[in-house]
Every structure is written in structure tokens, then in C-alpha cells.
């Protein structure tokens, strides 16, 4: 059977391939940022994986036919590869190698010093002991989820307050407009303005994501 992904990648110019890899790298970083890792690091992931290796793996699985891209269902191969990255990261985040590790002493140290595990990076990891076998993703209960959502929105709006277009876009998204054309209709912005705003918002969201991650980690201790 013809492997459409191989054909598509072979037809790509080096520049196109470079751009796609960079775009996938940016995408994977943001998704990784959003998830909670026992490593406290969104680049170096559990199981010896990294954001580089996740992007590589998404392409390998697609090229080998392990994941089959159907251009009729999803014409843009980059979008398909982003789906594969989602799946790989989700698998890694819920896998047994991402169990929450923490010690009583490190927890007390963190509280006393005001430091969080993620701000201490890798140094924490070797000292941590397994706690109840739950993943960081599981530490947020349903009733806390809503509070975190509200806090994240507050942080996002606060960090966007000097950019009225961003505030408009966030508000439109909160009303359920999850596509650029819908946001454009809801705000009266043109589609280009929405996309430009989205790039600025992407950076803000990355910062908020880190802050929320730190909140969750602190609560878990």
C-alpha cells in the first residue's frame, strides 16, 4: 500500500521540512508545558524522552506506517503529525514512568524556602520517593479543576490587559469560539489580526501554563 506520508515528505523542499519541524517543535513544547511531569521539566520528559525525540517519533511512526495518515480525512500532514504528538505526549503523561515523586523533607524545604519543585529543576528528582502511585495529571480533583480554570483565566487576562485585542480574543474564546473564523466574527477583527493575536496569546498562555503547573505542584506536596 502506498505510504502517502512518505510521498508527501519526499516532495517537500528542505525549507518546507525545516519550517514544519520548527512548527511541530513549537507545538510539542506548548503541549508539553500544559501537561504535568514528574521531571518538573517540559523539555526533558520521563522515560528518557525529550521534546526532540517526541517530534522525531511522530514522524517515524507516520513514515513507517505505524500511524497511517489519510490525506482525504486530514489534508494537512502537519495537522496530522500534531495529532500524533498529542497522542504520544498523552501516553507519556499517563504512563507509569510519570508517577508523582516527593519526599516529606523536600516538601517542607519547599514550603520554608518558597521554592517549588519545578523551580529547582532536576536536582529534586533523585531525592524524591514514590508517593501514592498517582500521576501529576491525577492530582487535581474535579472540584479543584474549576478553581484552577478560573485562576488560569484571571492570569491570562491579567497578562493581556495591556493588549485590548488579546482581551477581546480571550473573551470570545471563553464564549466557546474555538476557531479563528468564529473569533473573527465574534470580535469584528479580521482573520489576520486574529492569527497575529493568537501568536501573542500563545506566549502568554505558555507563561500561565507554567504558573498553573507550579500551583498544582505546590498543592500536591
Amino acid at each position: 500500500m502506498l505510504n502517502e506520508a512518505r510521498e508527501a515528505l519526499t516532495r517537500m523542499s528542505e525549507d518546507e521540512l525545516t519550517d514544519m519541524i520548527l512548527q511541530l517543535g513549537r507545538y510539542a513544547l506548548r503541549e508539553s508545558n500544559r501537561l504535568r511531569w514528574r521531571t518538573g521539566d517540559s523539555v526533558e520528559l520521563p522515560g528518557g524522552e525529550t521534546v526532540d525525540s517526541i517530534v522525531s517519533l511522530a514522524l517515524e511512526k507516520t513514515l513507517s506506517g505505524d500511524r497511517r495518515w489519510n490525506p482525504k480525512l486530514k489534508p494537512n500532514i502537519q495537522e496530522y503529525l500534531m495529532d500524533v504528538i498529542d497522542s504520544l505526549l498523552s501516553h507519556l503523561a499517563t504512563g507509569k514512568d510519570n508517577r508523582l515523586f516527593v519526599t516529606a523533607s523536600s516538601s517542607i524545604d519547599s514550603v520554608e524556602s518558597g521554592r517549588t519543585p519545578s523551580s529547582q529543576g532536576h536536582h529534586m528528582e533523585s531525592d524524591w520517593l514514590a508517593r501514592s502511585g498517582i500521576s501529576p495529571e491525577d492530582t487535581v480533583s474535579k472540584n479543584e479543576e474549576e478553581k484552577l480554570h478560573e485562576r488560569a483565566i484571571e492570569l491570562l487576562l491579567a497578562s493581556s490587559k495591556d493588549d485590548p485585542v488579546l482581551v477581546q480574543v480571550v473573551e470570545a474564546m471563553l464564549l466557546g469560539n474555538d476557531k479563528a473564523d468564529r473569533i473573527a466574527s465574534a470580535t469584528g477583527l479580521n482573520i489576520r489580526e486574529v492569527y497575529n493575536a493568537m501568536k501573542r496569546l500563545d506566549r502568554k498562555a505558555a507563561q500561565v501554563s507554567i504558573q498553573i503547573g507550579e500551583l498544582i505542584t505546590t498543592k500536591a506536596q
Partner: protein, 178 residues
């Protein structure tokens, strides 16, 4: 009618932002900066992933997808044949002869051309080496009928390709290992 539900989950908001950002137009430098600011080496990411993709594409099952050297380089770089030759530091005639008679040229020449392509055109050396392994039958149509019966050697290729004397000595030295 299309009913919209307010987003009640911050993950959904972040995912939508990430997806829509990917649809936006990005300059390459902007992407590099974004990636580097997040603590990832953008150059290393591109090189690592490209090397892996090239390796997979150059496996035997993919040879049908590769074009002979010059056409493959044209396709990947969007440059003209003469610009490619200039960037590789060889006459175009030399390059086209190498393409047609890859089965005759020494492996040291293949390796040198692959290194130059990686350096000057940012095309991976594995891919260049793979294009030079396309079976002679597939490039037969590109060959010069006048040379069909002539016994061709790499020395003859150098002689016929309009290469300068100093360059000629360089390519010969690669074969002799001098």
C-alpha cells in the same frame, strides 16, 4: 444551528490557542526564537529530526520516491541547476555527469559531494548518498548515447567535465587518499 458551549476547561483554551497558533503565519526566525526561549535548541531539533527523516526515506522501500541527484536537489532547494553547481563549487557539467554515471564515480567523491550539499544547501548527506545509489537503469535515459559504448572511467569524467586543473587534482587526490 451551530451552538457554542462556553469553554469550562483551561486545557481546552490552551489547546485551541496552540492549534490556532500553528495555523498562523510564522517566520522561521520567530519560530526559532520561540523554541529557544522555551529551553530547546532549535538547530539541534531540526538537525536531529531531519537526519531521522532522511534515514527513513533513504531505506530501500523509498528509492522510487527519489529523483536523480540534480533533480532531487532542485526539488529540495528550489534553486536552478547552475546555482546548485555553483554552491557546491563544481562545474554544472561535472555534476550532471556524476548524476548520470554515479555507478562509476568513486565513493570518496560521493562522500565529498554529500558533505558539500549538507554544508551549502542544507540537504542531508544521507539523502544525497541515496540519490547516487539509484540503479543505473533508472538514470539510463539521462546518459549520453555517444558514450554508450565507450569505456568510461572517473578520470574520463573529470577530463570531460570542464573542471579546472587544481580542482581536478583535488578530486583525484580523494581517490588516491593523498
Amino acid at each position: 444551528m451551530d451552538r457554542k458551549e462556553p469553554l469550562r476547561n483551561i486545557d481546552s483554551v490552551f489547546r485551541s490557542i496552540n492549534r490556532m497558533s500553528a495555523e498562523a503565519e510564522w517566520h522561521r526566525e520567530e519560530l526559532r526564537d520561540e523554541i529557544s526561549a522555551s529551553g530547546l535548541n532549535a538547530e539541534r531539533l531540526v538537525n536531529n529530526v531531519k537526519a531521522r527523516v532522511s534515514e527513513m526515506l533513504s531505506r530501500s522501500g523509498d528509492k522510487i520516491s527519489l529523483l536523480p541527484l540534480l533533480n532531487e536537489l532542485k526539488r529540495r532547494t528550489r534553486l536552478s541547476a547552475s546555482d546548485i553547481a555553483r554552491k557546491l563549487g563544481v562545474p554544472l557539467l561535472f555534476l550532471s555527469t556524476v548524476e548520470r554515471y554515479a555507478d562509476i564515480i568513486p565513493s570518496a567523491w560521493r562522500s565529498e559531494l554529500a558533505d558539500r550539499a549538507e554544508r551549502s544547501l542544507q540537504v542531508s548527506r544521507e539523502l544525497v548518498l541515496a540519490t547516487l545509489e539509484i540503479p543505473a537503469l533508472e538514470v539510463a535515459a539521462l546518459r549520453d548515447p555517444a558514450l554508450r559504448d565507450e569505456k568510461l572511467s572517473y578520470e574520463k569524467i573529470l577530463e570531460e567535465s570542464g573542471i579546472e586543473e587544481s580542482e581536478r587534482r583535488f578530486w583525484l587526490s580523494l581517490v588516491s587518499g593523498a
